[in-house]
């Protein structure tokens, strides 16, 4: 048998290899030149027919050729893979200047966000949320809170009356009255009900002509804390804590006399204006202060109404308009729009126009 022309085989392999433009073509070259049916494999099989002294010589030549083929195939594979990856990366360019397409989240309402924040702050002081009816008996809305019939304070809250002599609560203080009444029963039964620390919140109603800044329905938030030995200093400390927790630790707080029928003394709480920091600007009408809370020490008449001894217990009560606070925190000037179902407003607050 003739000696295989390994050189010619390698030349043929290299010509095919040079022509292989992609990994598929390379596989074809591998099959043709390194596969079972390849000439080199044939040459290897043909070694058996050679003489004893030729055999080792040619075996070495064929093996060397095989190794060369394998090495060149591997190298070509790497090159082609790199080229392929390069092509793929180029073809896979994505225009990331286009907007993202995840399912857009919605948002909680600004008023409920404020309510959640208020509860978060009050829980730290040990308060629990209590719910109450919106259609109320006037006793809980007025009489129990030291607002007798024909008292000018009733003018402060134009009331919606409904059938049966009931009304739509004009403030969430009704819940406080109900809690005081309910706990008084336990108190009489000799149970230890103190301290009472409850918060209430929700819709309240005023029979007013509605415009951009006046609403017939809005939201309030209130807290009441009854215990032995609570003082005016505690009232101020609690209010300052709540005011700073809600509006920011750096805000200054001031207290001023106010009138609420169910507290005595009554207190208004101002924080330094967030826009001008107290210098006076349009937002605060030049005052440098913004009123955020109404509060006071629970009125002795309110205690007496439910059978608590005002010489034994005292109480801190405070409330704020969550609607107004939502307007303040969002920058909405026409508070009516907080109660309109215009999703453009709500989504704009959340994600911009």
């Amino acid at each position: 048998m003739s000696k295989p022309d390994v050189e010619a085989m390698l030349a043929s392999f290299r010509a095919d290899l040079a022509a292989a433009a992609d990994l598929t073509a390379l596989d074809e070259v591998r099959r043709a030149h390194a596969g079972k049916a390849s000439p080199l494999k044939g040459a290897l099989k043909g070694l058996k027919a050679l003489s004893a002294e030729d055999k080792p010589v040619f075996a070495a030549v064929v093996n060397a050729a095989q190794e060369a083929v394998e090495a060149e195939l591997a190298s070509a594979k790497l090159t082609l893979e790199a080229a392929e990856l390069e092509r793929r990366l180029l073809s896979e360019w994505s225009d990331l200047t286009l907007p993202g397409v995840a399912t857009p989240r919605g948002a909680r309402h600004p008023v409920t966000q404020v309510e959640a924040r208020c509860m978060e702050v009050l829980r730290r002081l040990g308060f629990t949320l209590v719910d109450g009816p919106e259609v109320e008996h006037p006793f809980y809305n007025f009489d129990a809170l030291n607002i007798p019939e024909h008292h000018p304070a009733r003018d402060m809250q134009d009331t919606f009356w409904v059938s049966g002599g009931l009304l739509l609560r004009s403030h969430t203080t009704t819940v406080q009255a109900r809690v005081l009444e309910e706990r008084a029963k336990d108190l009489k039964a000799g149970k230890d009900v103190l301290p009472i620390r409850v918060a209430s919140m929700g819709r309240v109603y005023r029979n007013e002509a509605v415009d951009a800044t006046h609403l017939a329905m809005f939201h309030q938030f209130e807290g009441i804390w009854i215990d032995k030995g609570l003082t005016f200093a505690h009232l101020k400390g609690t209010l300052a804590f709540v005011a700073r927790a809600l509006f920011g630790e750096t805000r200054r707080v001031r207290f001023k006399p106010k009138f609420y029928p169910y507290t005595e003394p009554s207190v208004g709480v101002d924080v330094s204006c967030g826009v001008c920091d107290g210098a006076g600007c349009e937002a605060c009408h030049g005052a440098g202060w913004v009123t955020i809370l109404g509060a006071g020490m629970v009125h002795p008449k309110v205690f007496a109404q439910f059978g608590y001894d005002p010489d034994q217990v005292s109480g801190i009560a405070f409330g704020l308009g969550t609607t107004r606070m939502a307007a303040q925190t969002t920058g909405i000037t026409k508070i009516r729009s907080l109660y309109e179902p215009d999703l453009r407003t709500l989504s704009s607050l959340h994600r911009g126009l």
């Binding site: 399912t103 948002a107 059938s163 049966g164 509605v210 200093a233 005595e264 002795p300």
Partner: protein, 730 residues
């Protein structure tokens, strides 16, 4: 209350710096609502406290300021009137007038003499009052004596007029101006009648049924509610007591004789009259909050003094009918308790000195309340407030009580948060709608006639018709939200609310209604807003069902969506073929579906096809959460797909349920993985692919076993539902 800082400075010292003056006023409870530092005299508007009638005058404001600053109030100077015989007969027939006084003033006018008619005199003298009109006759003689005097101007001085104007009052007539100014200064409203227009004695009484009067500045007579406190003569009503005078007896340019009324009226009586007539005056504002009964004569004296400067003179003495005397109220004051309450350490003397600044007088075990504070000082706490104001609310100590432990959210709060989190994640915005609606909304929804939602709790006095009915369902507001957004060309709506509805119920504890907390959500447009990447599928009822299922999972509650419940109240407003019930442990707690096209049209919605669900929130709160954990199999289940063709109207859920119920115990799950709507024999049908998941946890289930189970299931479905139009698609 409008005034200027310059005018207030005439009554008390204030800091020269406008900003400091403003802070001082705020700190003593005279809140500055508006101030114009560059305006003439520095105009300010104060918001006065509702319980402090005594603040409604300049000396009252000054008193409050000096309680803090310790300065003195500068009272205007005037000579007290002499009380004696009444210049005109007075009859007080009701206890609602505690003090009533009349003073006669005249402006000498040589050219003019006013002589009461014989009939007037006779009518007056015929009255059963023990006072006579003799003084009137005397006065006519005095008039004649005045001939020689220089002609009086009859007007207030420029300075007085300027003061009125600074406080927002327009000079009208010297007599009226004098009463206004005295009220502004001292807080005692007075009223002047033209004496020559009075017929007979002046009577303070309650109005009779059907009585009418012509209040000042009105063009038509108004009927007074029976029992209104009025001032009347024999022929007519002269004034609605404490509220407003009447045209028939008003002073005008020709007036030369006035009867000046100064009185103390019952606050509630004045308030009722003021509200009934919708007439609110400085006078009614003062009386409604309780006037100082001891200020009646000083008030009248100040008016007389002002008018004297203008040439008017008092004739005779002032007549007073009074049933009032100072009760001398003493309020217990324990200095130690006060120190404890405020957390201060001032000694007794300092505390008493502060109280004295406000006019309180130290007596045994307490302080005596000055007459101008009888309406608001009753309890020791009221005195603590005075002390706190005097020190300054910002200057008393501050501290937190001991706090044992923080609180936790209630279960109801947590449920809302979990639900909201799911909905927000699906792109919903929380909205807040009104608690009431107008009468047209039930009509748009078709909730009229004998519909279970036709009855509402109604508001009795709403000033806006939009608030006539308390909301008894949430659907209307939800659809209106879609309509409102549609009007703004915004059809992609996803909104939800935790709201409350009101349901008439005479058996309810309050005898009127029960209240229910409701969660609702509405969606229109697509599952998610269209982007450059293509349009998402529509936000239809199936998608919304998925949202409810997500809520169910998040709450760990067995909330399911099942066949529509015909008795569910809002069902009539939903598409009859596209609605379902929401069930909790098998009980209907809500509904889900597409809004009925007729209702959509009634709300003038053009493009959107809103889908809606609502759930009774309280039921979610009441149900205990529970979802036992099931370990996922280590070996993947074996899947077999079965396609059945269903006649339209046959629900896929029925087939799935039958498969689930009929399979072997090791049939883990049945899922619907494909829907193909097509026609068969000219009829619309749907082919659904059901994927069966066979558990093969032990790896010993043979293919034959599974094939046999599948064949058995095909047989069951064909047998039980074949007649309804379900057949295997081969």
């Amino acid at each position: 209350m409008r005034l200027t800082l310059d005018v207030l400075r005439q009554f008390t010292d204030l800091p020269a710096d406008v900003r400091e003056a403003r802070i001082l006023l705020d700190e003593v409870g005279l809140e500055v609502k508006r101030i114009d530092p560059s305006g003439p005299g520095v105009p300010v508007t104060l918001e006065l406290l509702a319980n402090r009638g005594d603040h409604h005058c300049l000396t009252g404001l000054a008193r409050e300021v000096t309680g803090r600053t310790g300065g003195a109030v500068k009272f205007p100077e005037f000579t007290p009137l002499v009380v004696g015989d009444a210049p005109h007969p007075i009859r007080v027939q009701t206890p609602l007038c505690a003090v009533y006084s009349l003073t006669l003033l005249e402006l000498p006018r040589p050219a003019r003499q006013v002589v009461p008619s014989a009939a007037d005199l006779a009518a007056a003298l015929d009255g059963d009052d023990d006072l006579s009109l003799e003084d009137d006759v005397d006065l006519l003689e005095d008039d004649a004596d005045a001939d020689a005097a220089p002609a009086p101007t009859g007007s207030l001085s420029e300075a007085d007029r300027a003061r009125l104007e600074a406080c927002g009052l327009r000079p009208i007539h010297p007599v009226v101006d004098a009463t206004n100014l005295a009220n502004l200064e001292l807080g005692q409203p007075t009223h002047a009648f033209d004496a020559d227009k009075i017929k007979g004695p002046i009577t303070v009484r309650l109005s009779r049924a059907g009585e009418r009067c012509l209040p000042l500045f009105q063009t038509e007579r108004v009927e007074l509610p029976e029992g209104t406190l009025v001032i009347a003569d024999d022929e007519k009503i002269l004034a609605v007591a404490g509220v407003i005078g009447c045209e028939d007896s008003k002073t005008d340019e020709a007036t030369t004789r006035v009867l000046l009324e100064a009185a103390a009226f019952d606050p509630v009586a004045v308030r009722k009259a003021s509200r009934a007539l919708s007439i609110h005056t400085d006078s009614s504002a003062r009386f409604e909050r309780g006037s100082d009964f001891a200020a009646v004569l000083p008030g009248a004296s100040r008016v007389a003094g002002l008018l004297a400067d203008a040439g008017w003179s008092v004739k005779g003495t002032t007549g007073v009918v009074s049933s009032w005397s100072d009760p001398g109220r003493v309020v217990r004051f324990d200095a130690e308790a006060c120190r404890r309450f405020l957390g201060i350490d001032e000694d007794d003397l300092e505390l008493y000195t502060r109280l004295e600044r406000y006019g309180f007088e130290l007596v045994d075990h307490g302080v005596r309340v000055p007459t101008h504070r009888l309406w608001d000082i009753e309890y020791p706490a009221d005195l603590y407030e005075e002390i706190a104001k005097s020190i300054g609310y910002d200057n008393t100590p501050i501290g937190l009580p001991a706090i044992d432990m923080g609180g936790l959210p209630t279960h109801a709060e947590s449920v809302r948060d979990v639900v909201a989190d799911v909905l927000v994640g699906q792109g919903f915005y929380e909205v807040i709608t009104d608690g009431f609606h107008g009468r047209d909304l039930p009509e748009q929804l078709g909730f009229v006639g004998d519909h279970p939602l036709a009855a509402h709790v109604e508001t009795a006095n709403a000033i806006d018709r939009a608030y006539s009915l308390l909301k008894n369902e949430a659907l209307g507001a939800a659809i209106e939200g879609v309509a409102a957004n549609g009007r703004m060309k915004h059809d992609e709506v996803k909104a939800f609310e935790f709201t409350r509805t009101f349901h008439p119920d005479s058996a309810a504890p309050n005898g009127v209604c029960t209240e229910r907390n409701v969660l609702w959500a509405i969606a229109s447009g697509s599952e998610r807003a269209r982007t450059w990447a293509g349009t998402a599928r529509p936000a239809d009822a199936s998608w919304l069902k998925g949202v409810v299922e997500e809520i169910s999972l998040a709450l760990k509650l067995p909330l399911t969506v099942g066949a529509a419940d015909a008795s569910y109240p809002i069902g009539s407003a939903l598409h009859p073929g596209r609605q379902a019930s929401i069930l909790l442990s098998g009980r209907t707690v809500g509904a889900l579906g597409e809004v009925h096209p007729g209702v959509v049209a009634a709300f003038k919605i053009k493009r959107a096809r809103p889908v809606y669900f609502e759930i009774a929130l309280d039921t979610l709160v009441a149900e205990p959460a529970s979802k036992p954990f099931t370990e996922p199999p280590r070996v993947p289940p074996v899947e077999r797909d079965l396609a059945f063709t269903l006649a339209n109207g046959v629900e896929g859920g029925t087939v799935a349920a039958l498969l689930r119920a009929s399979g072997p115990t090791w049939l883990g799950r049945v899922a619907i993985v494909d829907l193909f709507a097509h026609e068969e024999d000219g009829r619309a049908v749907r082919t659904l692919t059901f994927r069966l998941f066979y558990d093969n946890e032990e790896g010993n289930r043979t293919a034959d076993e599974m094939n046999q189970a599948t064949e058995a299931l095909i047989a069951v479905v064909t047998d039980k539902l074949g007649a309804s139009g379900v057949k295997l698609r081969v």
